[in-house]
Point group: C2
Chain length 266, copies 2
């Protein structure tokens, strides 16, 4: 907080849908807030109380919503911007900083905090096993804010690098052909037998999980409520689970040398 006023903005991740996946720090911020700003379905998740004003807005207005939050904070309000998943992953955090950069110089002295959340790809990965247990990339397949040619190039290069990939916004009604093209690029770059998982409404009622080899994947398997995970060539099934080993081929853990760890603890 600055000395001159007590307003702040917290950009908070509500996770993929289940209330049991919201971190306590988000509830702490909401308890101190005077205002909540966000897309309608996320604001609907907030319990109303005296002293808390809820400002729900439509989608496609992220920067306007962000400017509104910053304006209120500059006027001394304590504002939580609610976002799904993790606000730093294809969500509201960058929009708030875009609005900060475009706004009055004085806004830059405001206290702004980002509270992370469980982003959809990690909830989807957990729901099927551990498909992101080795190197991976997170890619937004929407071409609203980048050219489609760049997206194709990224799929090719990242596939060639052997990383698993998680896709946000895989398919929309306005561009149904593009996800079909993405599947073609992925089959060429990753191989027909590489597993692809479609996770729809993850952690929500009606969650659907489908894993098939890339050769069997069709565009209709995804919509905008789906997060898609393309595994790497080593990803396999064991029992009902899908997981990616921690090791590259030929680098299996060796119990004799003790070099079996690739974890953060090593």
């Amino acid at each position: 907080m600055t000395d001159i006023q007590k307003g702040w903005v917290v950009i908070a991740g509500l996770g993929p849908g289940s209330e049991s996946m919201v971190i306590p720090e988000v509830h702490d911020a909401l308890a101190e807030a005077t205002d909540v700003v966000g897309y309608i379905p996320y604001v609907q998740r907030i319990t109303p109380r005296d002293g808390l004003t809820l400002h729900a807005s439509d989608n496609r207005v992220e920067v306007d919503r962000a400017s509104h939050a910053l304006e209120m904070a500059a006027a001394g309000r304590r504002v939580v911007v609610v976002s799904s998943g993790d606000p730093g992953v294809f969500a509201m955090a960058s929009a708030v900083f875009e609005a900060l950069e475009a706004g009055p110089e004085a806004w830059r002295a405001l206290e702004i905090r980002v509270l992370p959340g469980i982003t959809a790809m990690l909830a989807a990965a957990a729901a099927i096993g551990a498909p992101l247990g080795h190197d991976f990339a997170a890619i937004n397949l929407s071409d609203n804010l980048k050219p489609w040619a760049l997206i194709e190039r990224r799929l090719q290069l990242v596939g060639e690098a052997g990383l698993a990939m998680a896709f946000y916004n895989p398919r929309s009604k306005s561009r149904p052909h593009q996800f079909a093209r993405a599947l073609e690029v992925l089959r060429a770059a990753c191989g027909e037998e590489t597993l692809i998982t479609f996770a729809r409404d993850v952690t929500k009622p009606g969650q659907e999980l489908l894993t098939v080899p890339l050769r069997e994947a069709t565009p209709e398997m995804a919509d905008m409520r789906t997060v898609v995970i393309v595994s790497n060539r080593e990803t396999r099934r064991v029992g009902p689970y899908v997981y990616t080993p921690r090791f590259a081929p030929g680098h299996q853990p060796d119990h004799q040398t003790g070099h079996q760890s690739d974890s953060k603890d090593t």
Copy 2:
């Protein structure tokens, strides 16, 4: 749960360090558990209680630890395997499925659930702003379980693709020269002016955050308690924050057309 016995394994993420970043579902699992298995410092975070046995083990024994958890579950115990961050991101989940695949066929009928957590890169990103607000990759720089040449190739290809990158296990005492080499590869692939952030002990007491252009980065800025984020070429500073715009150059949001959104809501 299977019909023949009630044992289970839950692989739970404890987040980056702060208790305020542990999701409620992890506490629910711990409340029902008979046994907790994990690396010593993570097991130390669990509050002891009657009926709960704590099994702390050293690092570098992930598969042995995982087998122990599965054995106990097969004997009817309710076992939580605790992991830092998100268990599916360079942590215990893949190790448990490796042990499952190597173990007795009967284990495959066990109930195994993965509970996601806030992984270090997302906590670090939130702490400095939103450097992962556009496409990004998560790469483990340890060469214990993959060849160093593959790591270099991944840095080159992913840098060429224009993705931001988060690095786990950036530097160890046993291979101090490798991170210096990684920085060389990154300067060539991403440009000298691209920002790199070193986040040490993120969310813990003594958290340290340092952001510099790649040309000023030195290997000593990282150790095994550091997560490193290399932004993309568009990443910038605004006030004390570091963020990556949601749009590619030339694809700035257009308030007139309403195409300002690249979020999951579109």
